[in-house]
Amino acid sequence: MLSQILFSLFLLAGSYFFASKVREISRNIKLGRDLQINDRPADRWKVMARVALGQSKMTSRPVAAFFHLLIYVGFVIINIEVMEIIIDGIFGTHRILSFMGGFYDFLIASFEILAVGVLLACVVFLSRRNLLKLKRFWMREMTSWPRTDANLILITEIFLMSAFLIMNATDSILQSRGADHYVLAGAFPVSSLLVPLFNEMSNDGLMALERFCWWFHIIGILAFLNYVPYSKHFHILLAFPNTWYSKLEPKGSFTNMESVTNEVKMMMDPSIVPPPVAPGASPPRFGAKDVKDLSWKQLMDAYSCTECGRCTSVCPANITGKLLSPRKIMMDTRDRLEELGNGINKNGPDYEDGKSLLNDYITPEELWACTSCNACVEACPVLIDPLSIIIDMRRFMVMEQSAAPAELNGMFTKIENNGAPWQFSPADRMNWTES
């Protein structure tokens, strides 16, 4: 009974803290500009099914895709096992789902095979990061925390899977000895290989080890659950909404700024009456200086990023040694949003710290190096759009600060005066027909 109460308390506390952090992240995302995204729902479900559920974007790197798939399927399926553990924990039962008989055997066997798959994948991923030192995991923006975060995730998963397999091995021995409480259930194709390690132990010793692994497994899962929202690993949840809300228009289609459309229309036709402005309201900023100027979708992008670096490794600017890294744009956006969110937690919703995403995190040099080629957008496995943030920040620099590089200002002037970005007279537009 004591263990049931203890378990329920752990479960409640774990769920409560997780829910609070998720609420906080949701509030942070809503600090962004409002944006309506609900058109073409059928297409949106299809994109989500294909990209998030079906992992279609992962396949461009087959080795990573295979091992990632092991972890992904393992994670999804193992939740059935977690459900059983939770019911057993609350009601003091043991292997409550075993009434399913042959199907239960099949389930347990597949969990075990997947657990080994996950273990293997984590070992491969750890070696790839730390022994092979794959370039994209050791770039400038991959400072100590992003690297530690990745390693913590992988090591935790290894421990959790090991505990699961040892739990099954000891359980199966206790079952075969007909120990009280240990019903005969499950098939153990993997953990049976571990049986010789524990076969010499007494029933009491086995029970202690089985219970230890059981508790370690579930408390580990609850702790991991609470670690996830603080980590890049949050992509496991946000990948789904993020793909649902992703851009359906062609990648070359940039957002139309309606606030600008109104102003341009008024400039071209003075008879148009400007829309009324609420007294005391400051005009909206053109483009983005800080995270609040970005849309909530762009902020959700930042929380969906798992820092895999596929965007940066295909970025032509980054490949040729320039400062721009699309991954860093996403990491900076998240870091800045977290900083602002923490300030709001402490000081209330109107908190301002005088800092901004532009300059304090992202430099103009990074932003001006972008060729808007969309390689980063194409590469992202969860349909993050770093380019839209880059363009919004350029818009702020150009339209609010008049801070474009001098050559670009020259280009603007030529378009205004001659209708071409080069210094040619519009009268010469037909010259090509003559020579």
């Binding site: 139309n256 600008v260 032509p316 600017a317 390689a375 071409a420 970005p421 037909m430």
Partner: protein, 262 residues
């Protein structure tokens, strides 16, 4: 031009006529000496295929693409609204252009401002003309020659047009070789996003050199392009490697025009 006159929309309207398609030449196509050759090739092909077309001539103005990518939404929308006024004034319904930047802007960004047209890139037009037999290519200069194609970002990734230019090149009976970074994985020439108009940020090398080296590694006879910006960037890259006599940088329209002796 040599044996025919390129007509403007204004000419046509004055004569009470309407062309089937507007040829949007673009700033590079109008003013850049190298790109002008591509413009002529497109016009010759259109004429040869018997398509009724016209240009805007002096009434054409920058679509605003470089302004928009650089963040100057005001300038972009001024350009767009003025161009839309001209296009709608002539009741234009179909546009072809040899510039992927104009193509993308006209196709994807003008509708929100009231400009609704069927916009195609010249690679799509060429493919259609070849598929329907309106132009016929038999080998020609490029028969058996090794050609690689550089995907323009604003045609490929931005609008998912990958096959049309390749189908056109295949018609030359040439040996098509792909670079490792091609199609959706293609590498930018370095000129998009208004980079054409400024010096690159400091780095280890320029993007067009990286791309040219990748193309030259295949030892092609020609690098085919389908964008005036890519043309400039890759021609510069080939020149800097002193390979301009061995490796030609050609637009797909030039390849077809040469193959049918236009």
């Amino acid at each position: 031009m040599d044996n025919f006159k390129v007509r403007t929309m204004a000419d046509m309207m004055a004569a009470g006529e309407k062309p089937d398609i507007l040829f949007w030449v673009g700033c590079a196509g109008s003013f850049d000496d190298r790109a002008k050759k591509v413009t002529k090739a497109v016009a010759r092909i259109l004429h040869h295929a018997g398509i009724s077309f016209a240009v805007l001539g002096t009434e054409e103005s920058c679509t605003g693409d470089p302004a928009k990518r650089a963040g100057n939404e005001f300038l972009f929308q001024m350009q767009a609204m003025n161009n839309i006024m001209v296009l709608n004034g002539y009741e234009v319904t179909k546009i072809v252009t040899a510039c992927p930047h104009c193509f993308n802007t006209l196709k994807n960004e003008y509708p929100q401002l009231g400009g609704h047209y069927e916009v195609i890139h010249h690679s799509q037009l060429l493919q259609d003309l070849l598929d329907t037999g309106k132009i016929k290519v038999e080998g020609g200069t490029f028969k058996g020659k090794k050609i690689t194609f550089h995907d323009p970002c604003y045609l490929g990734r931005a609008n998912d047009v990958y096959e049309a230019p390749r189908r056109v090149i295949m018609r030359l009976d040439s040996l098509m070789v792909e670079m490792k970074r091609s199609k959706s994985n293609g590498l930018c020439c370095g000129a998009g996003g208004a980079q054409m108009f400024k010096e690159p940020e400091p780095g280890n090398k320029d993007i067009n050199m990286e791309r040219t080296e990748e193309a030259l590694a295949l030892t092609p006879d020609a690098i085919a392009v389908a964008c005036p910006f890519c043309m400039t960037m890759l021609s510069d890259g080939v020149k800097l490697h002193n390979k301009e006599t061995e490796v030609k940088v050609k637009d797909i329209a030039e390849l077809i025009a040469e193959a049918i002796d236009l």
